[in-house]
Symmetry: C2
Subunit: 283 residues, 2 copies
């Protein structure tokens, strides 16, 4: 596995791979890799001839009071995991390499970004779009892989790819969960054992919503109220938002119909966790 | 010359050219072509194996009270001029093709864009960056050509290319002028014969500035005052701005030194015209 820190050297390797007619797959990450990331890597390895993974904790997508500094950094174990999957190239740039002094160009999606996490974390998706646009231009993949856990992020990046005409496809792969349903997330590492137990309320709330819909409930308001009860009953947990929305437009549904996104974000202590489910409700 | 209106078909032709290892040159335009544009095309033909030109009057870069609707559209003569230069591909998309319903992703440079024309035309450079980012992703040129007349635009696009890591080079070519010094511009077509005569005040003001600097004047304030006098003496002309700035940062100079940009914008009737000069003042 090539481990490369500079954009210029990545370009050289990518050009080599392209000259050899290799299909390039790309998995952008912030490191602290878990089985969710690895499922993306495995899929990329199956579909592509040359798989690049980036590890970059992107300061532009963290708010001033967020966890940029303490975000888990586990480079040695990340490297081992990626090498085991026979990843071809690990791009591991410095902040200086990605945002040299005087950096002043940003990419912003301004429809899908305005709701859900975009409302709770102003500027977050602008940071995401900017860094991913940069990475797409550096890696020039044919396919880029994202997890369903960050559903809004994936839809925004799909929109960016479409609007700005990046010549690549975005593939969204299922959320990988712990045995008790908690979605894999690098931020789970912040949780102490009691918080970890309480964190299952995310999945419980989603499962309850699913059950209610399967039983015929079509009122988002009623379902959301039931979900809120679960969250309220869980100690140490504060709800950030819960939404039932059109899975394409991310706009709140008045009645559940078609592909419905059920998504929520909570705080446990200072740790913010998100989860979601898309349910296809036939008419 | 291939004349193509859809992004999908352009991609096909570009991929063919790339498979044949051709170096792609690109000249983005809004049409109403003049000798300025053609000088870019000629340079591209000399330097590249496959030259693409786009003609697209980009609504996103016009303000609500600007001349989007009446901007000159001269497709037949444009085509003839480009065919004569043996351009390989003319991309001539519709607004719908470039901005389908629900378009929501924008690229914005926010340092160089904040002064000069960016101050007079809010949103203008965001529109420029967005459409050029799209065109770069569609055409994927090795070199893109821009005119010095739109100096601020060219510097902003250079910055965008650097910041977002587009794998291409921007080449800026000299302003092409009429015999009396007026910079070639599609908007010159708006001028009646009297306005056309008065428009030479742009070049006169720049020549005066150059002369003063050559004579040793180093105070931007004094030079700007002399330039303003010329503009004021010209009937029907209203000054938008005049600036003497660092040619890289576009920030106003307190004393003239190094590469100095002298730039101005005026209105003649409803027509807004710009011009500039970069002078290298050795210490």
């Amino acid at each position: 596995m090539l481990i490369i820190k500079t954009i210029a050297k990545v370009r050289k390797e990518i050009n080599k791979a392209k000259s050899a007619k290799k299909i390039i797959g790309f998995v952008p990450t912030m490191g602290a890799l878990h089985r969710g990331h690895i499922s993306l890597v495995k899929k990329a390895k199956r579909e592509c001839d040359f798989v690049a993974v980036s590890i970059f904790v992107n300061p532009a997508q963290f708010g001033p009071n967020e966890d940029y500094r303490k975000y888990p950094r586990t480079l040695q174990s990340d490297k081992a995991m990626l090498a085991k999957e026979k990843v071809d190239l690990l791009f591991y740039p410095s902040v200086q390499e990605m945002y040299p002094e005087g950096f002043s160009t940003f990419v912003e999606e301004n429809f899908l970004s305005k709701v859900m996490c975009g409302r709770s974390r102003p500027g977050h998706f602008k940071g995401v779009c900017t860094v991913v646009a940069k990475l797409f231009n550096i890696i020039t993949p044919a396919i880029a892989y994202f997890g369903h856990k960050d559903y809004q992020q994936a839809k925004i990046l799909e929109k960016m790819v479409k609007d700005l005409n990046f010549a690549l496809k975005i593939t969204i792969l299922p959320t990988i969960r712990e045995k008790d349903g908690l979605a894999m997330s690098s931020r789970n590492a912040y949780l102490n054992s009691e918080q970890r137990k309480n964190a299952t309320c995310l999945y419980s709330a989603l499962m309850l919503a699913k059950l209610l819909i399967e039983k015929g409930e079509r009122s988002p308001e009623k379902i959301i109220n039931e979900m809120k009860k679960i969250i309220k009953l869980t100690p140490q947990v504060r709800l950030d938002y819960v939404i039932i929305a059109n899975a394409q437009t991310l706009r709140e549904l008045k009645a559940i119909e078609g592909k419905a996104l059920i998504a929520l974000a909570i705080f446990i202590g200072n740790t913010r966790l998100i989860d979601n489910l898309v349910i296809d409700v036939k008419k």
